[in-house]
Protein backbone atom coordinates (compact mmCIF):
# COMPACT_ATOMS: atom_id res chain seq x y z
CA UNK A 1 0.00 0.00 0.00
CA UNK A 2 2.33 2.68 -1.20
CA UNK A 3 0.99 6.11 -0.49
CA UNK A 4 2.22 7.51 -3.79
CA UNK A 5 1.05 11.08 -3.36
CA UNK A 6 2.76 11.81 -0.08
CA UNK A 7 5.85 9.90 -1.16
CA UNK A 8 6.17 12.09 -4.23
CA UNK A 9 5.86 15.25 -2.18
CA UNK A 10 8.46 14.06 0.27
CA UNK A 11 10.75 13.09 -2.60
CA UNK A 12 10.84 16.72 -3.72
CA UNK A 13 11.95 17.85 -0.28
CA UNK A 14 15.70 18.16 -0.52
CA UNK A 15 16.09 18.15 3.22
CA UNK A 16 14.98 14.55 3.41
CA UNK A 17 17.31 11.87 2.11
CA UNK A 18 16.25 10.37 -1.20
CA UNK A 19 16.43 6.91 0.28
CA UNK A 20 14.02 7.75 3.08
CA UNK A 21 11.76 9.92 0.96
CA UNK A 22 11.14 7.14 -1.53
CA UNK A 23 10.78 4.43 1.09
CA UNK A 24 7.14 3.29 1.14
CA UNK A 25 5.41 3.86 4.47
CA UNK A 26 4.35 0.77 6.40
CA UNK A 27 1.21 -0.71 4.89
CA UNK A 28 -0.62 -0.74 8.16
CA UNK A 29 -0.40 2.97 8.80
CA UNK A 30 -3.59 3.79 6.95
CA UNK A 31 -5.52 1.25 9.00
CA UNK A 32 -4.03 2.55 12.15
CA UNK A 33 -5.40 6.01 11.40
CA UNK A 34 -8.81 4.64 10.45
CA UNK A 35 -8.96 2.45 13.55
CA UNK A 36 -8.01 5.18 15.95
CA UNK A 37 -11.19 7.05 15.05
CA UNK A 38 -13.51 4.08 15.65
CA UNK A 39 -14.93 2.48 18.77
CA UNK A 40 -15.92 -1.07 19.77
CA UNK A 41 -13.50 -2.62 17.35
CA UNK A 42 -12.43 -6.21 17.74
CA UNK A 43 -8.89 -6.20 16.54
CA UNK A 44 -7.26 -9.25 15.02
CA UNK A 45 -4.62 -6.89 13.73
CA UNK A 46 -2.31 -6.74 16.69
CA UNK A 47 1.08 -8.38 16.24
CA UNK A 48 1.91 -8.90 19.89
CA UNK A 49 0.89 -11.16 22.77
CA UNK A 50 -2.26 -10.25 24.67
CA UNK A 51 -0.70 -11.58 27.84
CA UNK A 52 0.88 -9.06 30.14
CA UNK A 53 4.50 -9.90 30.99
CA UNK A 54 4.39 -12.53 33.78
CA UNK A 55 4.43 -10.90 37.18
CA UNK A 56 7.73 -12.39 38.38
CA UNK A 57 9.44 -10.75 35.40
CA UNK A 58 7.76 -7.39 35.95
CA UNK A 59 8.65 -7.62 39.60
CA UNK A 60 12.32 -8.19 38.71
CA UNK A 61 12.18 -5.03 36.59
CA UNK A 62 10.69 -3.05 39.46
CA UNK A 63 13.24 -4.43 41.88
CA UNK A 64 16.11 -3.45 39.60
CA UNK A 65 14.79 0.11 39.62
CA UNK A 66 14.57 0.09 43.40
CA UNK A 67 18.14 -1.09 43.60
CA UNK A 68 19.16 1.76 41.32
CA UNK A 69 20.12 -0.07 38.15
CA UNK A 70 19.63 3.02 36.05
CA UNK A 71 23.00 3.27 34.28
CA UNK A 72 24.34 2.00 30.95
CA UNK A 73 25.44 -1.59 30.77
CA UNK A 74 28.28 -3.02 28.71
CA UNK A 75 27.63 -2.46 24.98
CA UNK A 76 27.13 -6.14 24.46
CA UNK A 77 24.68 -6.44 27.34
CA UNK A 78 25.02 -7.53 30.97
CA UNK A 79 27.37 -10.54 31.30
CA UNK A 80 24.74 -12.45 33.36
CA UNK A 81 22.18 -11.95 30.62
CA UNK A 82 24.55 -13.12 27.90
CA UNK A 83 25.34 -16.14 30.03
CA UNK A 84 21.63 -16.91 30.44
CA UNK A 85 21.08 -16.49 26.71
CA UNK A 86 23.80 -18.97 25.82
CA UNK A 87 22.40 -21.51 28.29
CA UNK A 88 18.93 -20.95 26.85
CA UNK A 89 20.06 -21.56 23.27
CA UNK A 90 22.02 -24.61 24.34
CA UNK A 91 19.04 -26.01 26.25
CA UNK A 92 16.41 -25.45 23.59
CA UNK A 93 18.32 -25.91 20.33
CA UNK A 94 21.52 -27.67 21.35
CA UNK A 95 23.67 -24.92 19.92
CA UNK A 96 26.42 -23.28 21.91
CA UNK A 97 27.76 -19.75 21.66
CA UNK A 98 30.45 -18.05 23.66
CA UNK A 99 28.71 -15.61 26.04
CA UNK A 100 31.52 -13.10 25.79
CA UNK A 101 32.22 -13.02 22.07
CA UNK A 102 29.25 -14.44 20.27
CA UNK A 103 26.19 -12.78 21.82
CA UNK A 104 24.94 -9.22 21.52
CA UNK A 105 21.96 -7.96 23.48
CA UNK A 106 19.93 -5.54 21.37
CA UNK A 107 17.01 -3.17 21.81
CA UNK A 108 14.47 -5.63 20.49
CA UNK A 109 15.14 -8.04 17.66
CA UNK A 110 14.34 -5.18 15.25
CA UNK A 111 17.63 -3.55 16.17
CA UNK A 112 19.42 -6.85 15.67
CA UNK A 113 18.01 -7.15 12.18
CA UNK A 114 18.97 -3.59 11.28
CA UNK A 115 22.49 -4.07 12.67
CA UNK A 116 23.00 -7.34 10.84
CA UNK A 117 21.99 -5.82 7.51
CA UNK A 118 24.04 -2.68 7.97
CA UNK A 119 27.05 -4.70 9.06
CA UNK A 120 27.14 -6.93 5.98
CA UNK A 121 25.73 -4.90 3.07
CA UNK A 122 27.87 -3.02 0.58
CA UNK A 123 26.00 -0.66 -1.74
CA UNK A 124 24.08 -2.68 -4.30
CA UNK A 125 24.37 -6.01 -2.49
CA UNK A 126 21.31 -8.16 -2.87
CA UNK A 127 19.51 -9.81 0.00
CA UNK A 128 16.97 -12.50 -0.71
CA UNK A 129 13.71 -12.43 1.25
CA UNK A 130 10.40 -14.28 0.98
CA UNK A 131 7.27 -12.50 -0.20
CA UNK A 132 5.14 -11.96 1.86
CA UNK A 133 7.35 -11.22 4.85
CA UNK A 134 7.61 -9.02 7.92
CA UNK A 135 7.24 -5.36 6.96
CA UNK A 136 10.72 -4.34 8.12
CA UNK A 137 12.74 -6.76 5.95
CA UNK A 138 12.67 -4.90 2.62
CA UNK A 139 12.80 -1.48 4.30
CA UNK A 140 15.82 -2.35 6.44
CA UNK A 141 17.66 -3.78 3.43
CA UNK A 142 17.03 -0.60 1.43
CA UNK A 143 18.10 1.60 4.35
CA UNK A 144 21.32 -0.39 4.62
CA UNK A 145 22.01 0.34 0.94
CA UNK A 146 21.08 -3.11 -0.30
CA UNK A 147 18.55 -4.40 -2.78
CA UNK A 148 15.77 -6.68 -1.57
CA UNK A 149 15.14 -9.61 -3.89
CA UNK A 150 11.67 -10.94 -3.27
CA UNK A 151 10.99 -14.62 -3.76
CA UNK A 152 7.28 -15.33 -4.15
CA UNK A 153 5.77 -17.91 -1.84
CA UNK A 154 2.24 -19.22 -1.92
CA UNK A 155 -0.29 -21.54 -0.34
CA UNK A 156 0.89 -24.51 -2.40
CA UNK A 157 4.31 -24.41 -0.75
CA UNK A 158 2.80 -23.43 2.62
CA UNK A 159 4.33 -19.97 2.29
CA UNK A 160 7.83 -21.34 2.79
CA UNK A 161 10.50 -20.06 0.45
CA UNK A 162 11.93 -22.87 -1.70
CA UNK A 163 15.62 -23.38 -2.32
CA UNK A 164 15.06 -23.86 -6.05
CA UNK A 165 13.24 -20.53 -6.30
CA UNK A 166 16.06 -18.84 -4.42
CA UNK A 167 18.74 -20.41 -6.58
CA UNK A 168 17.09 -19.06 -9.71
CA UNK A 169 17.53 -15.52 -8.39
CA UNK A 170 21.12 -15.74 -7.17
CA UNK A 171 23.48 -13.31 -8.91
CA UNK A 172 27.02 -12.06 -8.33
CA UNK A 173 25.51 -9.38 -6.08
CA UNK A 174 23.71 -11.80 -3.79
CA UNK A 175 25.06 -11.43 -0.28
CA UNK A 176 22.61 -13.07 2.01
CA UNK A 177 19.33 -14.89 2.47
CA UNK A 178 17.06 -13.45 5.13
CA UNK A 179 14.46 -15.87 6.46
CA UNK A 180 12.02 -15.55 9.32
CA UNK A 181 10.29 -18.74 10.40
CA UNK A 182 7.88 -19.18 12.13
CA UNK A 183 6.63 -16.41 9.91
CA UNK A 184 4.81 -13.18 10.34
CA UNK A 185 2.30 -12.76 8.62
CA UNK A 186 1.56 -16.33 7.53
CA UNK A 187 2.27 -18.49 10.59
CA UNK A 188 4.30 -20.78 8.34
CA UNK A 189 7.16 -22.85 9.73
CA UNK A 190 10.10 -24.28 7.85
CA UNK A 191 10.54 -28.04 7.95
CA UNK A 192 13.89 -29.68 8.52
CA UNK A 193 14.00 -30.71 4.86
CA UNK A 194 13.31 -27.18 3.63
CA UNK A 195 15.85 -25.66 6.04
CA UNK A 196 18.48 -28.15 4.93
CA UNK A 197 17.89 -27.36 1.27
CA UNK A 198 18.45 -23.67 1.98
CA UNK A 199 21.52 -24.39 4.11
CA UNK A 200 23.03 -26.43 1.28
CA UNK A 201 22.33 -23.62 -1.12
CA UNK A 202 23.95 -21.09 1.20
CA UNK A 203 27.04 -23.28 1.41
CA UNK A 204 27.18 -23.87 -2.31
CA UNK A 205 27.01 -20.17 -3.18
CA UNK A 206 28.91 -18.95 -0.13
CA UNK A 207 25.97 -16.88 1.14
CA UNK A 208 25.26 -15.57 4.56
CA UNK A 209 21.98 -16.50 6.24
CA UNK A 210 20.20 -14.10 8.54
CA UNK A 211 17.67 -16.10 10.49
CA UNK A 212 15.00 -14.14 12.33
CA UNK A 213 13.65 -16.57 14.91
CA UNK A 214 11.65 -14.25 17.13
CA UNK A 215 8.69 -16.66 17.03
CA UNK A 216 10.82 -19.78 17.63
CA UNK A 217 9.10 -20.71 20.88
CA UNK A 218 5.62 -20.39 19.41
CA UNK A 219 5.41 -23.62 17.42
CA UNK A 220 2.60 -26.13 17.57
CA UNK A 221 3.48 -29.70 16.85
CA UNK A 222 6.72 -29.77 14.92
CA UNK A 223 9.90 -28.88 16.73
CA UNK A 224 11.52 -25.61 15.74
CA UNK A 225 14.67 -25.93 13.66
CA UNK A 226 17.19 -23.38 14.79
CA UNK A 227 18.96 -22.49 11.55
CA UNK A 228 22.55 -22.23 12.84
CA UNK A 229 22.18 -25.68 14.41
CA UNK A 230 22.11 -27.23 10.92
CA UNK A 231 25.38 -28.77 9.72
CA UNK A 232 27.99 -26.13 8.82
CA UNK A 233 25.49 -23.30 9.30
CA UNK A 234 26.79 -21.90 12.57
CA UNK A 235 29.70 -20.21 10.81
CA UNK A 236 27.56 -18.46 8.20
CA UNK A 237 24.36 -17.66 10.09
CA UNK A 238 23.44 -14.58 12.06
CA UNK A 239 20.71 -15.65 14.45
CA UNK A 240 18.29 -12.95 15.53
CA UNK A 241 15.76 -13.36 18.27
CA UNK A 242 14.40 -11.87 21.46
CA UNK A 243 12.04 -12.26 24.36
CA UNK A 244 9.16 -10.17 23.04
CA UNK A 245 6.95 -12.96 21.76
CA UNK A 246 8.05 -15.90 23.89
CA UNK A 247 7.83 -14.10 27.23
CA UNK A 248 5.22 -11.49 26.30
CA UNK A 249 7.78 -8.71 26.66
CA UNK A 250 7.25 -6.58 23.54
CA UNK A 251 7.43 -3.23 25.31
CA UNK A 252 10.63 -4.05 27.17
CA UNK A 253 12.66 -4.06 23.94
CA UNK A 254 15.02 -6.95 24.55
CA UNK A 255 16.44 -8.85 21.62
CA UNK A 256 19.68 -10.62 20.93
CA UNK A 257 21.98 -11.67 18.15
CA UNK A 258 24.05 -14.85 18.21
CA UNK A 259 26.76 -15.43 15.64
CA UNK A 260 30.45 -16.02 15.19
CA UNK A 261 32.78 -13.49 16.73
CA UNK A 262 33.60 -11.58 13.52
CA UNK A 263 29.93 -10.85 12.93
CA UNK A 264 29.21 -9.88 16.53
CA UNK A 265 32.20 -7.55 16.48
CA UNK A 266 30.90 -5.85 13.36
CA UNK A 267 27.37 -5.52 14.71
CA UNK A 268 28.64 -4.27 18.06
CA UNK A 269 30.57 -1.51 16.30
CA UNK A 270 27.32 -0.04 14.95
CA UNK A 271 25.41 -0.79 18.15
CA UNK A 272 27.93 1.11 20.30
CA UNK A 273 27.65 4.22 18.14
CA UNK A 274 23.89 4.14 17.85
CA UNK A 275 22.17 2.37 20.73
CA UNK A 276 24.97 2.09 23.30
CA UNK A 277 23.17 -0.59 25.26
CA UNK A 278 19.74 -2.13 25.64
CA UNK A 279 17.61 -0.73 28.48
CA UNK A 280 19.10 -1.79 31.81
CA UNK A 281 15.83 -2.46 33.66
CA UNK A 282 14.70 -4.59 30.76
CA UNK A 283 17.94 -6.57 30.81
CA UNK A 284 17.42 -7.29 34.50
CA UNK A 285 13.88 -8.42 33.80
CA UNK A 286 15.14 -10.58 30.92
CA UNK A 287 17.57 -12.38 33.23
CA UNK A 288 14.64 -13.32 35.47
CA UNK A 289 12.58 -14.35 32.43
CA UNK A 290 15.28 -16.71 31.22
CA UNK A 291 16.01 -18.14 34.66
CA UNK A 292 12.46 -18.73 35.84
CA UNK A 293 10.07 -18.09 33.00
CA UNK A 294 9.79 -21.44 31.29
CA UNK A 295 6.53 -22.57 32.91
CA UNK A 296 4.82 -19.34 31.90
CA UNK A 297 6.11 -19.65 28.33
CA UNK A 298 4.65 -23.12 28.05
CA UNK A 299 1.34 -22.00 29.51
CA UNK A 300 1.09 -19.23 26.95
CA UNK A 301 2.04 -21.53 24.07
CA UNK A 302 -0.65 -23.98 25.13
CA UNK A 303 -3.23 -21.22 25.26
CA UNK A 304 -2.21 -19.90 21.83
CA UNK A 305 -2.50 -23.40 20.44
CA UNK A 306 -6.10 -23.72 21.63
CA UNK A 307 -7.02 -20.41 20.10
CA UNK A 308 -5.15 -21.30 16.91
CA UNK A 309 -7.12 -24.50 16.40
CA UNK A 310 -10.32 -22.66 17.12
CA UNK A 311 -9.62 -19.79 14.75
CA UNK A 312 -8.42 -21.94 11.86
CA UNK A 313 -11.43 -24.23 12.10
CA UNK A 314 -13.87 -21.33 12.21
CA UNK A 315 -12.17 -19.52 9.32
CA UNK A 316 -12.54 -22.62 7.17
CA UNK A 317 -16.15 -23.03 8.28
CA UNK A 318 -17.18 -19.51 7.34
CA UNK A 319 -15.67 -19.89 3.88
CA UNK A 320 -12.23 -18.38 4.28
CA UNK A 321 -9.92 -21.29 3.48
CA UNK A 322 -6.87 -21.25 5.68
CA UNK A 323 -3.80 -23.47 5.53
CA UNK A 324 -2.64 -24.72 8.90
CA UNK A 325 -0.30 -22.19 10.48
CA UNK A 326 2.09 -24.16 12.67
CA UNK A 327 3.86 -21.26 14.31
CA UNK A 328 3.72 -17.65 15.57
CA UNK A 329 0.19 -16.42 16.36
CA UNK A 330 -1.20 -15.64 12.94
CA UNK A 331 -3.64 -17.27 10.57
CA UNK A 332 -3.47 -16.21 6.93
CA UNK A 333 -6.78 -17.10 5.28
CA UNK A 334 -7.55 -16.64 1.61
CA UNK A 335 -10.29 -14.11 0.90
CA UNK A 336 -10.40 -14.82 -2.84
CA UNK A 337 -13.97 -16.14 -2.59
CA UNK A 338 -15.14 -12.56 -2.05
CA UNK A 339 -13.51 -11.28 -5.23
CA UNK A 340 -12.21 -8.33 -3.24
CA UNK A 341 -8.63 -7.19 -2.97
CA UNK A 342 -7.04 -7.67 0.45
CA UNK A 343 -7.15 -3.99 1.15
CA UNK A 344 -10.77 -3.64 0.07
CA UNK A 345 -11.70 -6.61 2.21
CA UNK A 346 -9.94 -5.28 5.29
CA UNK A 347 -11.41 -1.82 4.91
CA UNK A 348 -14.96 -3.03 4.25
CA UNK A 349 -14.80 -5.53 7.10
CA UNK A 350 -13.66 -2.82 9.44
CA UNK A 351 -16.36 -0.36 8.41
CA UNK A 352 -19.23 -2.85 8.20
CA UNK A 353 -18.46 -5.28 11.00
CA UNK A 354 -15.88 -3.44 13.11
CA UNK A 355 -13.35 -6.23 12.89
CA UNK A 356 -9.75 -5.27 12.14
CA UNK A 357 -7.50 -7.58 10.14
CA UNK A 358 -4.36 -6.67 8.22
CA UNK A 359 -4.42 -6.93 4.41
CA UNK A 360 -1.86 -9.44 3.15
CA UNK A 361 -0.47 -6.85 0.76
CA UNK A 362 0.95 -4.93 3.72
CA UNK A 363 3.55 -7.73 3.76
CA UNK A 364 4.28 -7.91 0.04
CA UNK A 365 2.56 -8.30 -3.31
CA UNK A 366 2.20 -12.07 -2.79
CA UNK A 367 -0.04 -11.33 0.17
CA UNK A 368 -2.78 -10.27 -2.25
CA UNK A 369 -5.86 -12.39 -1.75
CA UNK A 370 -5.08 -12.99 1.94
CA UNK A 371 -5.50 -11.22 5.25
CA UNK A 372 -3.59 -11.67 8.48
CA UNK A 373 -5.68 -12.58 11.52
CA UNK A 374 -3.87 -12.67 14.83
CA UNK A 375 -5.18 -15.05 17.48
CA UNK A 376 -3.28 -13.45 20.36
CA UNK A 377 -6.55 -12.21 21.78
CA UNK A 378 -9.16 -13.69 24.09
CA UNK A 379 -11.20 -16.64 22.93
CA UNK A 380 -14.40 -14.64 23.28
CA UNK A 381 -12.95 -11.93 21.03
CA UNK A 382 -11.98 -14.52 18.44
CA UNK A 383 -15.42 -16.06 18.63
CA UNK A 384 -17.24 -12.77 18.18
CA UNK A 385 -14.86 -11.58 15.44
CA UNK A 386 -15.43 -14.77 13.47
CA UNK A 387 -19.18 -14.55 13.94
CA UNK A 388 -19.07 -11.08 12.42
CA UNK A 389 -16.72 -12.21 9.65
CA UNK A 390 -19.06 -15.09 8.85
CA UNK A 391 -21.93 -12.64 8.42
CA UNK A 392 -19.69 -10.46 6.25
CA UNK A 393 -18.74 -13.38 4.02
CA UNK A 394 -22.36 -14.50 3.57
CA UNK A 395 -23.18 -11.01 2.41
CA UNK A 396 -20.17 -10.59 0.16
CA UNK A 397 -19.38 -13.99 -1.27
CA UNK A 398 -19.24 -14.14 -5.05
CA UNK A 399 -21.93 -16.43 -6.38
CA UNK A 400 -20.38 -19.01 -8.62
Amino acid sequence: MLNIESTAIEARDNLISQKVATLPPSGIRKFFDLLSSMEDIISLGIGEPDFVTPWHIREAGTYSLEKGYTMYTSNSGMPELRQELTSYLELHYGISYHPEHEILVTTGSSEGLDLALRAIINPGDEVIIPDPCYVAYPADIILAGGVPILIPTNEENNFVVRATDIEARITKQTKAILVGYPANPTGAVMSKKESRAISELAKKHDLLVISDEIYARLVYGDEHICFPSLPMMRECTILISGLSKSHAMTGWRIGYVAAERRFIQALTKIHQYTMLSAPTIAQMAAIEALRNGEAEVQKMVQEYNRRRRFMVKRLNEIGLPCFEPKGAFYAFPSIKATGMSSEEFAEKLLLEEKVAVVPGTAFGACGEGFVRCCYATSLSNIEEALRRMGRFIRKNRLTT
Binding site: S26, I28, F31, F32, L35, S36, I41, S43, G45, I46, G47, E48, D50, V52, Y134, V135, A136, N184, Q302, N305, R306, R307, R309, F310, K313, A356, V358, A362, T377, S378, L379
Partner: protein
Protein backbone atom coordinates in the same frame (compact mmCIF):
# COMPACT_ATOMS: atom_id res chain seq x y z
CA UNK B 1 -7.41 -35.14 29.07
CA UNK B 2 -6.09 -32.73 31.69
CA UNK B 3 -6.38 -29.97 29.10
CA UNK B 4 -10.16 -30.38 28.88
CA UNK B 5 -10.46 -29.68 32.59
CA UNK B 6 -8.06 -26.76 32.39
CA UNK B 7 -10.24 -25.19 29.73
CA UNK B 8 -13.44 -25.81 31.71
CA UNK B 9 -11.87 -24.39 34.85
CA UNK B 10 -11.27 -21.15 32.96
CA UNK B 11 -14.35 -21.12 30.73
CA UNK B 12 -17.19 -23.08 32.32
CA UNK B 13 -19.41 -22.22 29.38
CA UNK B 14 -17.13 -23.70 26.74
CA UNK B 15 -19.17 -26.17 24.72
CA UNK B 16 -17.96 -29.70 23.92
CA UNK B 17 -17.68 -28.58 20.27
CA UNK B 18 -15.42 -25.67 21.17
CA UNK B 19 -13.31 -27.79 23.48
CA UNK B 20 -13.00 -30.52 20.87
CA UNK B 21 -11.57 -27.96 18.42
CA UNK B 22 -9.18 -26.54 20.98
CA UNK B 23 -7.76 -29.88 22.08
CA UNK B 24 -8.07 -31.53 18.67
CA UNK B 25 -10.14 -34.50 19.84
CA UNK B 26 -13.51 -35.78 18.58
CA UNK B 27 -16.60 -34.14 20.13
CA UNK B 28 -17.94 -37.52 21.24
CA UNK B 29 -14.77 -38.23 23.21
CA UNK B 30 -14.86 -34.82 24.91
CA UNK B 31 -18.53 -35.28 25.79
CA UNK B 32 -17.81 -38.70 27.22
CA UNK B 33 -14.97 -37.43 29.39
CA UNK B 34 -17.04 -34.52 30.71
CA UNK B 35 -20.04 -36.75 31.40
CA UNK B 36 -17.90 -39.22 33.30
CA UNK B 37 -16.25 -36.43 35.28
CA UNK B 38 -19.63 -35.01 36.26
CA UNK B 39 -20.74 -38.44 37.33
CA UNK B 40 -17.73 -39.25 39.49
CA UNK B 41 -17.64 -35.67 40.85
CA UNK B 42 -14.30 -34.76 39.32
CA UNK B 43 -16.33 -31.81 38.10
CA UNK B 44 -18.25 -30.71 41.18
CA UNK B 45 -20.15 -27.77 39.82
CA UNK B 46 -20.09 -25.04 37.14
CA UNK B 47 -19.89 -21.66 38.82
CA UNK B 48 -19.73 -18.02 37.87
CA UNK B 49 -17.60 -15.42 39.59
CA UNK B 50 -19.72 -12.31 40.03
CA UNK B 51 -18.69 -8.91 41.22
CA UNK B 52 -21.79 -8.30 43.35
CA UNK B 53 -20.57 -4.89 44.38
CA UNK B 54 -21.42 -3.73 40.84
CA UNK B 55 -25.05 -4.63 41.55
CA UNK B 56 -24.92 -2.96 44.93
CA UNK B 57 -25.77 -6.26 46.57
CA UNK B 58 -22.54 -7.33 48.09
CA UNK B 59 -22.79 -9.92 50.85
CA UNK B 60 -20.75 -9.72 54.00
CA UNK B 61 -17.91 -12.19 54.22
CA UNK B 62 -15.75 -13.29 57.11
CA UNK B 63 -12.73 -15.50 57.53
CA UNK B 64 -13.10 -17.42 60.77
CA UNK B 65 -10.30 -19.16 62.59
CA UNK B 66 -11.63 -21.96 64.76
CA UNK B 67 -9.71 -23.81 67.40
CA UNK B 68 -11.23 -27.23 67.99
CA UNK B 69 -10.47 -30.33 70.03
CA UNK B 70 -9.95 -33.47 68.00
CA UNK B 71 -12.01 -36.54 68.85
CA UNK B 72 -10.87 -40.09 69.31
CA UNK B 73 -10.99 -42.19 66.07
CA UNK B 74 -12.26 -39.39 63.84
CA UNK B 75 -9.74 -36.61 64.51
CA UNK B 76 -11.06 -33.30 63.20
CA UNK B 77 -13.33 -34.72 60.52
CA UNK B 78 -16.46 -35.15 62.60
CA UNK B 79 -16.41 -31.66 64.08
CA UNK B 80 -15.47 -30.19 60.68
CA UNK B 81 -18.47 -31.90 59.16
CA UNK B 82 -20.77 -30.60 61.86
CA UNK B 83 -19.58 -27.11 61.13
CA UNK B 84 -19.38 -27.10 57.34
CA UNK B 85 -22.95 -28.37 56.96
CA UNK B 86 -24.23 -24.96 58.05
CA UNK B 87 -25.25 -23.13 54.87
CA UNK B 88 -23.47 -20.00 56.09
CA UNK B 89 -20.14 -21.79 55.64
CA UNK B 90 -18.93 -21.16 52.12
CA UNK B 91 -15.54 -22.87 52.30
CA UNK B 92 -13.89 -24.89 55.05
CA UNK B 93 -10.33 -26.11 55.44
CA UNK B 94 -8.25 -27.98 58.01
CA UNK B 95 -5.02 -26.03 58.33
CA UNK B 96 -1.71 -26.27 60.14
CA UNK B 97 -0.62 -23.56 62.58
CA UNK B 98 -2.14 -21.96 65.63
CA UNK B 99 -5.73 -22.94 64.86
CA UNK B 100 -7.30 -25.93 63.14
CA UNK B 101 -10.21 -24.93 60.94
CA UNK B 102 -10.23 -22.00 58.54
CA UNK B 103 -13.61 -21.03 57.19
CA UNK B 104 -15.03 -18.56 54.77
CA UNK B 105 -18.50 -17.54 55.92
CA UNK B 106 -21.02 -15.58 53.91
CA UNK B 107 -23.98 -13.59 55.23
CA UNK B 108 -26.40 -10.91 54.14
CA UNK B 109 -25.17 -8.55 56.84
CA UNK B 110 -22.78 -8.45 59.75
CA UNK B 111 -25.52 -9.39 62.18
CA UNK B 112 -26.15 -12.64 60.35
CA UNK B 113 -22.50 -13.68 60.64
CA UNK B 114 -22.20 -12.68 64.27
CA UNK B 115 -25.28 -14.67 65.21
CA UNK B 116 -23.92 -17.65 63.35
CA UNK B 117 -20.69 -17.42 65.33
CA UNK B 118 -22.25 -16.74 68.73
CA UNK B 119 -25.29 -18.96 68.49
CA UNK B 120 -24.19 -21.87 66.34
CA UNK B 121 -20.43 -22.12 66.09
CA UNK B 122 -19.01 -21.04 69.43
CA UNK B 123 -21.41 -23.10 71.60
CA UNK B 124 -20.31 -26.39 69.98
CA UNK B 125 -18.65 -28.62 72.52
CA UNK B 126 -15.37 -29.18 70.62
CA UNK B 127 -14.95 -25.53 69.67
CA UNK B 128 -12.45 -23.90 72.00
CA UNK B 129 -12.33 -20.46 70.51
CA UNK B 130 -13.01 -18.46 67.34
CA UNK B 131 -11.48 -15.38 65.75
CA UNK B 132 -13.59 -13.61 63.14
CA UNK B 133 -12.04 -11.42 60.41
CA UNK B 134 -14.58 -9.51 58.36
CA UNK B 135 -13.52 -9.04 54.73
CA UNK B 136 -13.05 -5.39 53.85
CA UNK B 137 -12.23 -5.64 50.17
CA UNK B 138 -11.95 -8.40 47.62
CA UNK B 139 -8.92 -8.10 45.37
CA UNK B 140 -8.68 -11.50 43.75
CA UNK B 141 -10.81 -14.60 43.84
CA UNK B 142 -10.39 -17.97 42.12
CA UNK B 143 -7.50 -16.56 40.14
CA UNK B 144 -9.49 -13.54 38.92
CA UNK B 145 -8.68 -9.98 39.90
CA UNK B 146 -11.65 -7.69 40.40
CA UNK B 147 -10.26 -4.48 38.99
CA UNK B 148 -8.46 -4.85 35.69
CA UNK B 149 -7.20 -2.33 33.20
CA UNK B 150 -9.07 -2.73 29.97
CA UNK B 151 -7.01 -4.43 27.28
CA UNK B 152 -7.68 -1.53 24.95
CA UNK B 153 -5.77 0.74 27.27
CA UNK B 154 -2.66 -1.33 26.92
CA UNK B 155 -2.27 -2.46 23.32
CA UNK B 156 -2.28 -0.40 20.15
CA UNK B 157 -5.22 -1.41 17.94
CA UNK B 158 -2.97 -2.57 15.11
CA UNK B 159 0.73 -3.39 14.97
CA UNK B 160 2.98 -5.08 12.40
Amino acid sequence: MKEIFEILEQHARATPEQISTMVDKPVSEVEQIIKQAEKDRTILKYRTIIDWSKLGQEDVWALIEVRVTPQRDVGFDAIAERIYQFPEVYSAYLVSGTYELAMLVRGKHMQEISSFVTEKLAPLEQVQSTVTHFLLKRYKENGETFHLLKEANRRLPITP
